[in-house]
């Protein structure tokens, strides 16, 4: 097996996922293409060396349909020989793209890939791709799949995270993201999205609300209470987890991931390609994994994936310096921290999707990039990025870097 290195990573800032959002006028393939061009230009890269571009995208229809991976590669002006593909493992897609790339590199079959994702949630609405998960009675009834928001509230209830706990977590995410921006933590990785003439359109994540407090969040009504109570979704959760009396509804727009537009790309390759191109590796992927988990509660996926990864690597929690756990809903990182007894100071150190947003197909790559940056900045060795995934799954990646003396 060969080593797989991260050479570079970029992301667009995340625009608000509605028509007033700064990136709403920009087609999704253009967002992705801008990240691809940035990777090329920053590294002075001959794109003929790139074997494949793997992009995650959750709603691959209409503008994002028909393999937005290859479409973005063409749009970016890459060499003909750079292939492209779109994948979908729901929220994990951006990280799964990294995993698929890493596997091909490690096996020695391909040398240099871009793995990332793109999602324009303002231009192609979440859910518009249809699907059978909740709709086909033979899936939904037989496997008790329910809308994720209710599952997230179920997770909070199981873990004993009340409204205060999840809101406090959201405040932390917001303040960390804001502080990270102010301190320039994202300067290296975030590219400015430009218009057709090259003028800047968006340079900074616009979803962040720095003034967020417990008081400001307390005004928000739980988003999934009516759905849960009126349509029987709560009953489904309680039927599966009968030691709880009922689901307590605690999540709302302020403590769940934001709906945003964005794209990201990570440049991955063999050691040899680094020598050939003169690029210096920033981190090495030392492990990656994915696992299914209980599909009704959905969000125990990260727990399952982390356990699987630690078991396989023989490492334990104390061997990991930093964690990125996607903030799909505040209860998710809270649950992971509780189950593995993590130091909150080591988890999502620069804020997360609650503050900055979750452009679904791209987020996995964004988390990994943030993790690499934070390890470098703090001169730490090892980190794990993990995402919870719809229908009960978890995907994780472990990276290591050489610490400087």
């Amino acid at each position: 097996m060969l080593d797989c290195f991260i050479y570079d990573h970029v992301r667009t800032p995340r625009g608000r996922g509605r028509s007033a959002g700064a990136l709403h006028a920009i087609p999704a393939s253009e967002l992705a293409a801008q990240t691809l061009r940035a990777l090329r230009d920053r590294n002075d890269l001959d794109t003929a060396l790139i074997d494949d571009v793997i992009l995650g995208c959750l709603t691959p229809i209409n503008e994002q349909g028909s393999n937005i991976g290859r479409v973005s590669v063409l749009r970016a002006g890459y060499a003909d020989s750079a292939a492209g593909v779109q994948i979908n493992r729901y929220c994990g897609s951006g990280l799964d793209a990294v995993n698929f790339a890493a596997g091909q590199i490690a096996s020695g079959q391909l040398d240099l890939l871009v793995a990332g994702g793109v999602e324009s949630m303002s231009r192609v609405w979440m859910g518009s791709e249809g699907g059978a998960l909740y709709t086909d009675p033979r899936v939904a009834i037989d496997r008790s799949t329910v809308s994720q928001g209710v599952s997230a509230d179920g997770l909070a209830t199981l873990g004993g995270f009340d409204r205060t706990a999840v809101d406090e977590y959201a405040v932390v995410s917001q303040s960390r993201a804001h502080a990270a921006w102010e301190a320039g933590h994202f300067d290296r990785s975030v590219i400015t999205v430009t218009d057709h003439l090259g003028a800047p359109v968006l340079a900074r994540d616009e979803h962040i609300r720095p003034g967020t407090t417990l008081e400001s969040l307390s005004a928000l009504k739980p988003s999934f209470e009516e759905l849960g109570r009126k349509y029987g979704l709560d009953d489904v959760i309680v039927s599966r987890y009968p030691h709880i009396e009922r689901v307590e509804h605690v999540h709302h727009a302020g403590n769940a991931s934001g709906i945003v537009d964005g794209a990201a790309g990570i440049l991955l390759g063999t050691e040899e390609i680094g020598h050939r191109t003169g690029m210096k590796p920033r981190a090495r992927i030392t492990a990656f994994t994915t696992s299914g988990s209980e599909p009704t509660i959905v969000f125990t996926g990260p727990e399952v994936a982390i356990k699987k990864m630690l078991k396989r690597t023989g490492l334990c929690v104390s061997d990991i310096d930093l964690w990125e756990v996607n903030e799909a809903f505040a209860a998710v990182p809270l649950d992971v921290m509780a189950k593995f007894d993590l130091d909150p100071e080591c988890v999502n150190v620069d804020g997360g999707a609650i503050a900055m947003g979750h452009p679904i197909g791209a987020t996995g790559a964004m988390l990994l990039g943030t993790l690499v940056d934070a390890l470098e900045r703090k001169n730490l060795k090892r980190g794990i990025a993990v995402l919870c995934i719809g229908a009960g799954m978890g995907t994780a990646v472990m990276v290591e870097r050489e610490m400087s003396a």
Partner: protein, 717 residues
Amino acid sequence: MTNAFSINKSADGIATITWDDPDQSTNLLTADAVDAFHVAVSSLMADDGVTGILIESGKSLFSAGHDVDRLIDAYNVFSDSNAEGAERYEPLLDQCRPLQSALRTLETGGKPVAVAIEGSALGGGFEVCLAAHRRYVGDNSETKLGFPDVTLGLVPGGGGTQRAIRLAGIKAALPLLLEGRSVNVTKAAEIGLVDEVVSPGEAASAARAWLKTEPSATQAWDEKKFKLPGGDAHAPGVSMLFDLTNPSLCAGRSKTSPGKAGVVAAVYEGSMATMDQGLASEAQYFAKTLADPSARNFMRTGVTFKDELRKLARRPSGAPDWQPRKVGVVGVGMMGAGIAYTCARSGLDVVMIDQDQAQAEKGIAYAEKAMARAKIDDATQAEILGRLHPTTDLAALDGADLAIEAVFESVELKRDILKKMEDALSGDYCLASNTTSLLISELAEALDAPERFLGMHFFSPVDRMELLEIISGEGTDDNCLAHAMDAAKAIGKTPITVRDSRGFYTSRVVTSYEFEGLRMLTEGVAPALIENGGKLGGMPFGPLNLLDLTALDLNLLIRREAKAALGSAFQEHPGDAVLEAMVETHDRMGRKTSAGFYDYHPDRTKTLWRGLSENWAVASEQPPIQDVIDRLLYAQSIETLHCMAEGVVTDPREADVGAVLGWSYPLTWGGPVSFIDTVGAAAFLQRANDLASTYGNHLAPPDVIADRLRSKGRVYV
């Protein structure tokens, strides 16, 4: 071959099929009827002289009913069969494919078909109507149209799912199919299930006029460019309906009709397919559903057994016919008022007697409220009120055939009142007490003619709960029992006959459920797990919730009275200490005081009292949920078996129907006795003994019954 269908050809080329089954009061689609229909239709399609077909009924209803006996037989054949794979389902498919096939012949045979609907068309009868090319219905407020199949645990098997969605669209049709309720003619026309509403009696001529216009003989859905109105299952606005419906069907067999999941699946899949493919889908789900014993239970307990009991299968033979005309109710509390109203509603004259005139007159107010709620018209209301006579004078009982005592639950008071009532009665009367917890024989001691006295245990609210538990005392004679059953029939109740014992049948078994919950509480089982265990087994309320609803102080009182009466024979139960503590230490009486095992909040929600875990420690290790579910179900079945071993209940049908009607025991199991057959007798005995060895001997089946079960293999043959 049945002559349910007669054909009349007129000179204008229109052939009329008149459905008027001489062997039944309502046109029912038996297997014979389906065959005869298909033969009739085929012959008309082949007849060159026929240009159009009109279908009508010769009865006041178009058609209603399911041949449940035939469906249950088919289930039995399936269940006993040794065939493997898909072939096993043939006997079940035979219950729907013939009708599907006949109706396809009707709509694709090449001749236009119109149906004239006068009177209700439900189930298969309505499915026949939907296969016509045009439907006319007479405007009658009594006419009901719809698909009651899910109420029988079934999926419509005559193309109802496929034609309803193609006519009305999924959004309008799916709720109708899922709820099993019917609509009136206006609503049916609004959503497209019928084409035109005409004056009553005019449907046939309207249909005939349409047939004369040489209309198309092709259904819209057999045309090439057909699109489902409103779109298929994944159309915008439609998929959401599935997303919001599916969760309510998730909890599986215990919660809801087994037919519902099949209906949604047949609609979902068929909506994106041709009619023939959709029908195949519907047939498969029909068969899968009927293959589940749950459907058999819905039909057998819910229809067959209930009908048998309502028709007084258990009436002592030889007792002469008897019809009550005048009823006396003594004690006009809520129960007395309900009983009085129920009798008056059925045409009986009622004297409502209370020691206080104002209280007696509350019976009038009760009736008025009930009639308003039931939207009864003014004329009928006046009639009913005219039959209610409030008074304080016991002498008003003179001439009453049936006299029911419904005073406060006190032995002394009841004995006193009953004696006074007996003194005022004469002739061939039946005297009854509505007591819930006192022994009939004990009350009978006060009477000169105990043979004319028994218990008539009504359920609240009396006007809506159809069960009547009739308790024979030691001295009650057959004539009296027959009277009570005749009275039940006269007022529309379903009677079960029970021998006198503490708690009779219904209270005794429901208490076993509640007290198993209390026992678990004392063992450290988490309250939420107990409650969910009850509900996951199909009970509408957890045991602690049910105790709150039936009042903790009342339950405690009943236990104390039993203890006083039985002395050393009284069997203590760990639940007794719980009730004592709740009532006397914590002052919590249940729902009526907004504080019991639950706290009842102003916004109508409730949460388990936090104090439960402080007073009954929750064990760190919890039992598997399946053990909790099973204990709560098995407790009921075992107690029922004890009732049968003691002769308190002598007919398992009455145990099953009494449970379903008395305390909403889940129809999916068919009743505490049907539960045994559903699980399988051998599996039941094994599980009961396993539970007994882990959790206590009270869960062991009585030996005499266990032996019989082992040799017979099942309860019902």
